[in-house]
């Protein structure tokens, strides 16, 4: 009795509350909300995030959420264009000396910090000094330690001199080092209020941060590339993905990343087609199976090639990623300039795999279905990290496929830190399934160069190839894109032949955005790069907020 009374009481409260107050800031959605119309100022974009930013000074931040928000508040000297070439941001132009040692940036004039003070080369110098300061706890100082000398030539000219030519250097002058000197000089950067209440010069500025709830950003009307059309950008923290997906349907979130099953199944309804737009583009990430090249099984490259032939990459993509990805052929993302589409590919062919294994001396001599060589059965363990179901599923399919050519695979999932500290760093593995997220610069010296094989370094598979070493060095010493392209194309050819890793797949990013937003131009670097140009046509605007 009591219980049913409680139930009806609850319903009454709910009805009452729903009927009378609604969501006062939200106008009823217009259906169908296909954005067409002229650009107009107004409305808000609500982005859902599972993580909360910790600090909004880019050089101190380590997590994606912090960088996502800080990226809207701060700009760099340069940035990547949609074709992945470096273009000017706060720097109008720059010169690189013939020997590649000196970069001179000419800065834009008339740019102002949100508090009205002019932006000058002194701000860049201040940021540079802060990032190389011993007392700054940053993970990004490495690129800046290559700088031999930094000078402010005048208010709008900044010059850096390197010890050696260093091509990734240019991109390092992206979003990390521009800080307002007039607000931060002489202060302890880790203690200042600035980290949670920053003054920037980017398209948006922070007005309110409710911990564990949301960050509200207003557009910066004097943004140097023009006032953003959207008045507000709201970063809502919803730690649970399922909850966030419900918020999306209820109108509480406008943009979020979908999981493969949400993308391919749950959003394939009339409601979603009418009210949302889905996007899809390759992420700058690839998943691979890496071999311990010191292990006797994997020394012979024919064995690695045989394993590549025994794995069906398109099957992995269809099953693990619901088709939302591309097969990887090397450590670069398809359709970007360093990507070489012409490398050796390994079609799925168990017959070919068996043939290669036989050539390498592996044969099933005792008829138990497992190959042997010198009396040793071909049996090894794939390690991967716990909690990543994509990698676990990948490992399971590979296990099944390799069994068909006579290789017995065991799978072991380990907690991340244990995995890295006890197994990767100590080289206690036979094969691993892992992923790399790759920077936009093609330099991968740390991953493939033979000098990077010590503990805690990243060539943990112990790959050694003198030609690759030389190419890697050449690639990071030249700024000429054509020249670099040649270098990295050759590296991919060698890697595809020698297969220190089997490059498995590049998963797609799959964001969904409410259909009232127009001006979105998908590109290889995603969709949010031109957020200030997104708009909602006047008739479709939904959120209003008092200033």
């Amino acid at each position: 009795m009591k219980k049913s009374l409680f139930f009806s009481l609850l319903l009454m409260v709910a009805v009452y509350a729903g009927g009378c107050t609604g969501r006062p800031e939200t106008l009823p959605p217009v259906t169908p909300a296909t954005a067409s119309g002229d650009p107009a100022y107004g409305d808000s974009l609500v982005e859902g995030s599972i993580g909360e930013p910790t600090v909004l000074i880019p050089m101190l931040a380590g997590d994606n959420a912090s960088h996502a928000v800080a990226g809207l508040i701060f700009n760099g000297l340069v940035k990547y264009g949609t074709d992945l070439r470096i273009i000017g941001d706060l720097a109008e132009s720059w010169d690189i000396s013939r020997d590649g040692l000196i970069i001179t940036f000419r800065l834009r004039k008339g740019v102002r910090w949100a508090d009205g003070v002019a932006f000058t080369a002194h701000d860049v110098m201040f940021g540079y000094k802060t990032i190389i300061d011993e007392k700054t706890p940053t993970a990004y100082s490495e690129d800046f330690r290559q700088v031999k000398k930094a000078e402010v030539l005048d208010d709008y000219t900044f010059r850096v001199t390197y010890q050696k030519p260093f091509a990734p250097a240019l991109s390092s002058w992206g979003g990390l080092v521009v800080l307002p000197k007039h607000l931060l000089e002489g202060k302890d950067i880790t203690k200042t209020e600035f980290a949670r209440n920053p003054i920037g010069l980017g398209p948006f500025r922070l007005v309110k941060w409710s911990p564990g709830q949301e960050l509200i950003l207003n557009s910066y009307k004097d943004y140097f590339e023009g006032r953003p059309y959207l008045d507000h950008y709201i970063f809502r923290i919803i730690p649970d993905r399922a909850t966030m997906f419900l918020e999306l349907q209820a109108g509480g979130v406008d943009i979020m990343d979908l999981t493969p099953i949400q993308y391919t199944k749950q959003t394939e309804t009339g409601f979603f087609r009418d009210n949302f737009r889905k996007f899809r583009y390759p992420q700058f990430v690839y998943t691979y199976m890496g071999f311990n090249l010191k292990h006797p099984f994997f020394v012979d490259k024919r064995v690695r090639q045989a394993i590549a032939c025994a794995i069906d990459k398109s099957e992995l993509i269809d099953v693990v990623l619901f088709g939302l990805g591309n097969p990887a052929t090397g450590p670069y993302v398809p359709n970007t300039w360093p990507y070489n589409p012409g490398v050796k590919k390994y079609e799925y062919s168990p017959a070919m795999a068996k043939k290669l294994l036989k050539e390498a001396g592996w044969e099933d001599t005792d008829g138990d279905g497992i190959l042997e060589k010198d009396g040793r059965p071909f049996r090894f363990t794939i390690l991967t990290n716990m909690g990543n179901s994509l990698r676990m599923n990948t490992a399971t399919i590979i296990q099944w496929r390799l069994a068909q050519v006579g290789i017995r695979v065991d799978i072991r999932a380990l907690e991340w830190s244990t995995f890295v500290n006890q197994f990767i760093d100590k080289r206690r593995f036979e094969a691993v399934i892992l992923g790399w997220s790759i920077g936009l610069d093609p330099d991968q010296y740390d991953i493939w160069h033979s000098s990077k094989t010590k503990e805690k370094e990243f060539n943990f598979v112990t790959y050694k190839n003198p030609e690759v070493d030389e190419l890697l060095e050449r690639g990071r010493r030249t700024f000429d894109v054509k020249e670099r392209k040649k270098t990295y194309f050759r590296i991919q050819e060698i890697l595809a032949d020698e297969l220190p890793y089997i490059f498995l797949y590049v998963p797609d990013a799959t964001p969904i955005v409410h259909a009232r937003f127009a001006g979105i131009r998908p590109s290889p670097i995603g969709i949010e790069y031109n957020l200030p140009k997104w708009y909602v046509p006047a008739g479709l605007q939904r959120h209003r907020m008092e200033p």
Partner: protein, 332 residues
Amino acid sequence: MSVYLLKRLLEMIPTLFGITLISFFIIHLAPGKPTDIFTELNPKITPEAREKLERYYGLDKPIVVQYGIWLKRIVRLDFGESFSSDHRPVMDKIWDAKKPLIERRLFVTFLINVLSMAVILAIAIPLGIFSATHQNTLYDKITTTAVFIGFAMPSFWLALLLMILFGVHLHWLPISQLKSMNYGSLSLPGQIGDLARHLILPIFVSAFTGLAADSRFMRSSMLEVIRQDYVTVARAKGLPERLVIYRHAFRNALLPIITLVGLSVGSLVGGSVIFENIFGIPGMGQLFYMSVMTRDYPTVMGILTIGAILTLMGNLLADLGYMLADPRIRAR
């Protein structure tokens, strides 16, 4: 009485010390470090940079020394500074004195738990008594089934179902978080109404799934009590059944519930972790989860210490409540 209270309070100190010692070592035994978020498999970091970060957080010192440093600060009620990259004092994260009450994490967690406990008791006690007095009737069986369904149902699943019904289909209730985005511009009654609307689902879920223990305890202790001789005597002398149950049996049957409530104070922090994450509520449980994930030792320790103090206080209150309810204990 006051001597007893003093003694109990003093006894809490070594217990608390033991709890912090064990928690400190366990959390440091877990693989991983707070610097991992920057350094693990990040090709841009050199061994020197890694050491620099570890020195910065004092992680290069032996663990006993680290505990000593922590303990030295804690006696001055200083929880230290968070290892996450915001470097804020832990106390500010848990209880930010500059913010309104509702934005302080400890208060949010406390509020939700007190409310849900009140709801649980308000339903579980009558439910249990009724089941006991109507033992083995259809009513008893229905309530038993119902509370066990609640007990067995995963709270996250129930939460999602209710969100779909009330949030997505009916648009009656907000799905997540504690406040609407326009909360700041509402009048005071509007703000309270807004909070209440956001609290309905979390409190319902935690009450419904937590009903079983209290109501079953109430039922069995009531059953035991009404078999006692003095209840038979009360009935024999012709008292109405209502008086027999609610005046004579009820007080005695309540004793185990007091203990149960006292003990459950400690599990508040633990239980909050799950539903604060599902509902996106900015409480202490959510902070705890994030801190564990990033190995933010000072924040984890701060929350564990507060949790331990709350548990010990809960036990103490339960004992005091016991004394109030039971003259036999008071006499001792």
